[in-house]
């Protein structure tokens, strides 16, 4: 089922709604909450949507089964969004006007504000507890375990225990009113199950910040931009707990830059000087960083950039999700450039891939992009717990230390000693007389000397291509899911599309339509991607942008036949649904549907 809350931004509804989702999660029921919020701090409509699904399908699904509507601004639209036969829970402190009455849905009036005003004196508290009251009503209406939610209250206010009784009271007020006035539970009820296992419920951005800590990043430079800001917050919050010495000194530098250009410059300076560093931004930030990204590509400096995508172009839809920066991130900057890019699908992957990105950046001495999106970054996702192998060593790549410099015959910063396109670098301060070189964005020879010689230039940029080839065997391999029966049709997708794509695949299978699936995890594409395309006649590339950007990259990088690749697109700013995928793929399967 899907439960949606329609609230006013800035009224404290988020914590009540989160409490609702977490309670269901703790009852062992798979849950996927999504924030649908405005670019605003207070006053505009905001929604919180929770899909509850015993089979573990966590992609977005349209059709609201139960809507808690407490925002007069969006009331009409909210009532219209309820599925026929569904429920509309509203604040009955004031009577609902006749124009809001639909014959085909059920109305459940809870006098939320009235109950709140009777029991709480301070206006701000009346507002806050109104939210908890409707959660209490849902506990009765959906047969949620009150004990579980009260435990969450205990944990949340462990440091302010004075607030606990008031929260309990609000839950009870809603619960008691619903019990006394409505038949509880409704036709939907939640029953404890074992559908969660050892999963955790975490936002992708926080997992990314943790991945940076575990991956050994010491410098984060960033500029605030939705929806990436919580990566910085996650990094800093956990650093304060995990990276401070006994003397109070920090084993990290956290620099809020003056803009995205500076943030990228700081990352480049730090990695050039031997630290692991990263930045997190969104599409507009990548645009601003592009000049520097080209420098890092050409001068061969490690960079890790997290792009939490949002709706573009320009300022676009800053609080809605999309995958619109595939081309602009992979090919960021002027001249011939292309960058290793990883595409996480879950917070667990955000954590793992972030650490991988830091390794890859050092290994390949080049910008490495982690391309996430708002849905993944800013919503809590149920996912496997974060894991770290304590025997793992950071791959710092090819760096000569002082002893190496004494040992080797000659040092050339851009000499391809190992014939894999990757050269040895030195860190400033290593040796008094050996290994210094000049880093520059201008063309240079193998010894880092400025040159405008055409042959030398071609040698250098061709070696960068060789590096790209080498990277193919280092980046994460794609996830292939084979259909139950042999088929010559396939789907390709990446990132958060995974949830709905796999659901659509299962649903298609029930209709006798079989599709093999390939989830891209990285660019450059390795052999598995090529093989998948070659072994299927018709492939649907599912993306959340207008132009089918990944399809273009597949064509560009693999020379894939455009006729084979059909774009299946959703770009309205909401996470793609299985129904959308099925409907749009169905249009191309006239003989079967």
């Amino acid at each position: 089922m899907v439960v949606r809350f329609a609230n006013v931004n800035g009224t404290g509804s988020a914590s009540a709604n989160n409490m609702f989702a977490k309670t269901i999660f703790r009852m062992g029921i798979p849950v996927s909450p999504k924030n649908i919020f405005p670019s605003n701090i207070q006053g505009l409509p905001t929604w919180y949507e929770v899909r509850i699904n015993k089979d573990g399908y966590l992609g977005r699904r349209t059709g609201i089964d139960l809507l808690v509507g407490v925002n007069p601004q969006s009331l009409k639209k909210d009532i219209a969004s309820v599925k026929s036969g569904g429920y509309f829970v509203y604040d009955s402190t004031r009577k609902l006007h006749a124009e809001f009455i639909r014959e085909d849905i059920n109305y459940i009036g809870i006098p939320m504000m009235k109950l709140s005003m009777e029991h709480y004196q301070v206006p701000r508290l009346q507002q806050l507890f109104k939210n908890i009251i409707y959660v209490g009503a849902l506990v009765a209406l959906l047969d949620i375990e009150m004990k579980v939610i009260k435990n969450i209250v205990d944990e949340q206010f462990a440091k302010k225990p004075k607030l606990i009784p008031n929260n309990y009271k609000a839950l009870d007020l809603g619960y008691d009113f619903a019990k006394a006035n409505y038949e509880c539970p409704l036709k939907y009820r939640l029953e404890r199950m074992d559908g969660v296992g050892d999963s955790i419920l975490i936002e992708g951005n926080e997992a990314t910040g943790l991945g940076a800590i575990y991956g050994g990043a010491t410098v984060m430079a960033w500029y605030p931009i939705t929806p990436s800001t919580s990566v910085a917050k996650g990094f800093e919050t956990h650093c304060k707990k995990l990276r401070v010495d006994a003397d109070g000194r920090k084993n990290y530098a956290f620099v809020q830059a003056e803009d995205e250009l500076a943030a990228m410059g700081m990352v480049i300076g730090a990695t050039w000087n031997g630290s692991r560093a990263f930045t997190a931004t969104s599409g507009p930030g990548v645009s601003l960083m592009s000049e520097f990204i080209g420098l890092a590509y050409f001068a061969e400096i490690p960079v890790t950039l997290v792009n939490v995508q949002r709706g573009g172009p320009s300022t676009g839809m800053p609080t809605r999700t999309q995958q619109p920066d595939i081309i602009s991130t992979i090919y960021a900057s002027h001249g011939d450039t292309k960058h290793i890019s990883l595409f996480p699908s879950t917070p667990t992957e955000c954590f793992e891939m972030m650490a991988d990105c830091l390794d890859l950046a050092d290994r390949f001495q080049t910008p490495v992009m982690m391309i996430s999106d708002l849905d993944l970054g800013m919503n809590s996702h149920m996912c496997p717990p974060l894991k770290w192998d304590d025997t793992r060593k950071y791959d710092r790549g090819k760096v000569y230390d002082a002893e190496d410099l004494e040992r080797i015959k000659e040092f050339g910063r851009y000499l391809d000693v190992d014939d894999d396109g990757i050269c040895y670098r030195t860190i400033p301060g290593t040796h008094p007389t050996k290994g210094s070189f000049f880093t520059r964005g201008t063309s240079r020879d193998e010894y880092a000397k400025y040159t405008e010689d055409g042959d030398t230039y071609v040698r250098v940029v061709n070696r960068l291509l060789k590096k790209w080839e080498t990277a193919k065997s280092y980046v994460p391999i794609p996830e292939v899911t084979e259909a139950k029966e042999k088929t010559d049709m396939g789907i390709i997708f990446f990132g958060t599309t995974r949830y709905s794509a796999l659901e659509a695949m299962d649903l298609f299978e029930k209709e006798g339509i079989y599709l093999d699936a390939l989830r891209i995890k990285a660019v450059p594409f390795n052999q598995t991607v090529e093989d998948f395309i070659n072994s299927h006649e018709q492939i649907f590339v599912i993306e959340q942008n207008r132009d089918g950007q990944m399809r273009s990259v597949l064509m560009n990088e693999l020379d894939a036949d455009p006729k084979k690749l059909t774009a299946i697109l959703n770009y309205d700013g909401m996470p793609i649904t299985a129904a959308t995928i099925m409907e749009r793929i169905g249009q191309h399967l006239p003989a079967l549907v």
Binding site: V255, A262, M266, A277, T439, K449
Partner: protein, 351 residues
Amino acid sequence: MTYIKPTFRHPGLKKNKVGYVRADYEGAISTLCAGCGHDSISGAIVQACFEMSVEPHRLAKLSGIGCSSKTPTYFLSNSHGFNSVHGRMPSVTTGANMANRDLIYLGVSGDGDTASIGMGQFVHAVRRNLNMAYIVMNNGCYGLTKGQDSATTDFGSISKSSGLNDSFQAIDLVGMALELGATFVGRSFSGDKDQLVPMIKAAMSHPGFAFIDCISPCVTFNNNKGSTKSYQFVRDHQEATSTIDFVPHEEEITVDYEAGTSTSVALHDGSKIHLDKLSPNWDPTDRYSAVMRLQEAKLTGDILTGLLYIDPKSRGLHDLMKTSKRPLNSLQEEDLCPGSAALEGINAGFR
């Protein structure tokens, strides 16, 4: 650059305390125009580093884009260098400094690189009191693109390719740095090595952002009659606030300073700056007096030079941020990775 300088060193050459001769601090042969002020500044940097016994690999030289930003090739060839993108040297230096607090950071920029495209990054480096020496080679024009006026071209100045500037007022970087709260602000002239060399030494010793605006005539595009950045004009109008001596902490003071006119500023590492004051109503540790003197000089049409302001209590960015005393780039897995046991606890918090 295809010219190669001879690496032979005469055994009789004077060595400094770390065993290097002056030539060890030089770089490749300059490709700037003959007589360019920038080459003199490069020479002053070489001299300052030699005299201070800086180990070349303990210094990183960084720059942006433009004639000035080419100069790091022409000094300290045993130091790592970074020629970044236009106007963005401050951010690259910030990151580098975050990674290793133990190196000396010398940033070189120009008036275009700092006062126009790089203004944003410049002011924020000042604001953060980033521990670096920042030298602007200020010639009041865009040399590398053939002499267009820059934001520091004085009102009323005439240049070869842009003619008379009768439209825009110049941005005074020194006045701005003072206003922004810079902790070390100096102005000098490429033709005045006696002043410039000790000023660079003091700047490199200063714990925080040390700014030197160094007027450096462009012989090709802005050294003509009517230019306020020509050799002749600067020589005629330079008014020094003081003479300057930099005395490293282990050296004895050998010069006699006349009582009443000399000021001594002690730096954090025990070294001292001696200023023999030539200018009245001015105290180098009083920002207000520095601003006032600067305004007065502006009214009289003089170019005020010297170390104008220093905050002896300055604390660099690492101290403000309370980062580890160990350079961050020296930390290893055991310092950085909290391990799987800690992760178990973190996972539990998300259930």
